[in-house]
């Protein structure tokens, strides 16, 4: 799953970068959805691997120090994964909630990153647009998540 997530993350981040050239701040940042997906449907014991896949691929596309991005993603995936037991992965609303949680965790990680290293990892508007996309895409993503994981309940 981690390798598939790495490829998807690379492609989505590259598409995001191209989109940014055309629509600027309205280009949705895929990190919220990817982190929510990894947290909700990833194996409980593979949080580290999934965070490395997501963070490293994003850093490779955005040309940032991978360590910072991996730490931010790790924290985000771990926060979502901590709520997995209380969420039913088969319900689309669970994915929307997980995305909101991931968005909040990413904003906090970005704030912390800016505080400690003076380096911002995210654009607020792009993160919001990416997070809002969770609403129309939730059914589709939840379906994929259940198919990938089999039993998506806690």
């Amino acid at each position: 799953m981690a390798f598939a997530l790495l490829i998807v993350s690379l492609l989505l981040n590259q598409a995001h970068l191209v989109g940014e050239g055309w629509i600027g701040d309205f280009a949705p940042d895929p990190t919220v959805l990817l982190a929510a997906f990894a947290g909700l449907y990833g194996g409980r014991r593979s949080t580290t691997l999934l965070a490395v896949a997501l963070g490293w691929s994003r850093a490779a596309v955005m040309i940032e120090p991978a360590g910072l991005t991996i730490l931010a993603t790790w924290w985000t995936v771990a926060i979502v994964a901590s709520q997995r037991r209380s969420l039913d992965g088969r319900r689309w609303a669970s994915f929307v909630f997980a995305s909101a949680l991931a968005g909040g965790a990413l904003v906090f990680a970005d704030w912390l990153s800016e505080l400690c290293t003076d380096h911002s990892l995210l654009d607020g508007e792009q993160l919001l647009v990416g997070g809002v996309l969770a609403i129309p895409l939730a059914r589709l993503i939840a379906g994929v998540g259940v198919a990938v994981r089999g039993d998506a309940r806690g």
Partner: protein
């Protein structure tokens, strides 16, 4: 890899090393570079081409002329070298100073630079080569403890008797030693090298060394300065700040020719940002090294900052060192971006062209002056344009 296992602390340590900018980790991070080729094939045709000015032939000619004039100035009034040698331009790669060492690294021809070769800039003494390894020469600058004593002199007036001395060093400070007169020089007296060929030292005479100063000089009441007594040790302050130099001249053997290696590369459009960092599809496997320049059609596009095996990162930030600013009237001013380096009464204007150069490629347009503040000016880099092909060239 499972969380909670041995991998968690390993990943955590690698992340910290990456944030700290540790070279091996930053290079290893680029291993994902080749995997970007799938998305590149899919999305690059859809990429938005940024608006901006491409390099036009007028700017190329202008940059070439400015660079050629600057190179002439750097070479100084006459080529200073020993008989049987010649002078070559050498780009400055780095300058490092510690308490006892003042060193500069320059790129030189392979097997072409003898030990003790003289390094100058605009007719001023910069240092002597103390080590050459893999086409990089290490130069001991004035004040370095490994710089051999130099015969030098000052002369307060054309008719005055010159005062000879030996230039030594201690703890990174250049000292005036064994001077032939106890008479104090006037404040700011300039000193230069002296010929002692009869004693077997071939150092050319007349190279500017610096100003003779007295440490902790204090003004006395009434505006008079405390006299420089014979018992006081004098210091020499170099005229040239090594940190500011982009190129110098170095003595080389007549057969020495430096061929800067070049590599053709493509920019990965779906990675990085036009204005800050971009990714190239070549790495150390193709001969790219950190510090190489990325150029195209007479334009300087950036400097290779991180080199992976098959992918490298180019920083678009203007490097430190002297740049040439070409004004609207065609005037050329060599300076750094910091205001402290600007000539008195001169201020760059927004839109002035900023130029650098390369020994083999000639003048290269970097961009234009964007903002001018009291601290200095920012450079708006040349736009990358729609053509993805670039040349990576060794400095």
């Amino acid at each position: 890899m499972k969380s909670g296992g041995i991998w968690t602390p390993v990943v955590l340590a690698a992340c910290v090393a990456s944030v700290a900018g540790w070279g091996p980790i930053r290079r290893a991070e680029q291993a994902l570079g080749p995997m970007l080729s799938i998305g590149e094939a899919l999305f690059a045709p859809l990429a938005h081409a940024p608006a901006g000015t491409e390099v036009v032939d007028d700017h190329r000619r202008e940059a070439d002329l400015a660079w050629a004039s600057y190179v002439e100035a750097v070479r100084g009034p006459g080529e200073v070298c020993l008989p049987g040698r010649k002078v070559a331009l050498a780009p400055v790669l780095s300058v490092a100073t510690t308490e006892r060492r003042r060193r500069m690294k320059i790129a030189v021809p392979a097997d072409g630079v003898p030990d003790g070769a003289l390094v100058t800039h605009r007719g001023a003494f910069v240092g002597l080569v103390v080590d050459v390894e893999d086409r990089i020469a290490e130069v001991a600058l004035i004040g370095d403890e490994d710089l051999r004593p130099l015969a030098a002199e000052w002369q307060t007036a054309p008719s005055a008797r010159p005062v000879h001395f030996l230039l030594g060093s201690e703890k990174g400070t250049a000292l005036v030693e064994s001077r032939s007169s106890t008479v104090a020089p006037p404040a700011g007296q300039v000193a230069w090298t002296r010929s002692v060929a009869a004693l077997g030292d071939d150092l050319p005479p007349g190279l500017l060394l610096g100003r003779v100063v007295k440490p902790d000089e204090q003004d006395l009441p009434g505006g008079a300065a405390e006299g420089l007594g014979a018992t006081r040790e004098l210091e020499l302050e170099p005229l040239i700040a090594a940190d500011d130099l982009g190129i110098v001249t170095v003595e080389v053997l007549p057969s020495a020719e430096r061929e800067a290696r070049t590599v053709s590369a493509l920019r990965v459009v779906t990675s990085g940002s036009e204005t800050t960092s971009v990714r190239l599809d070549v790495g150390s496997r193709h001969g790219v090294e950190q510090g190489c320049w990325v150029v195209r059609d007479g334009a300087w596009l950036g400097r290779v900052a991180v080199v992976g095996w098959t992918s490298s990162i180019v920083e678009r930030e203007v490097p430190r060192g002297t740049l040439l600013v070409i004004g609207a009237g065609g005037s050329v001013v060599p300076c750094r971006t910091e205001a402290a380096s600007w000539p008195e009464g001169w201020v760059p204007q927004v839109g002035d062209r900023v130029v650098t150069g390369h020994g083999r490629l000639g003048g290269l347009l970097m961009g234009t002056v964007k903002d001018v503040t009291q601290a200095g000016f920012d450079v708006e880099p040349v736009v990358w344009g729609t053509d993805r092909t670039v040349t990576v060239v060794e400095r």
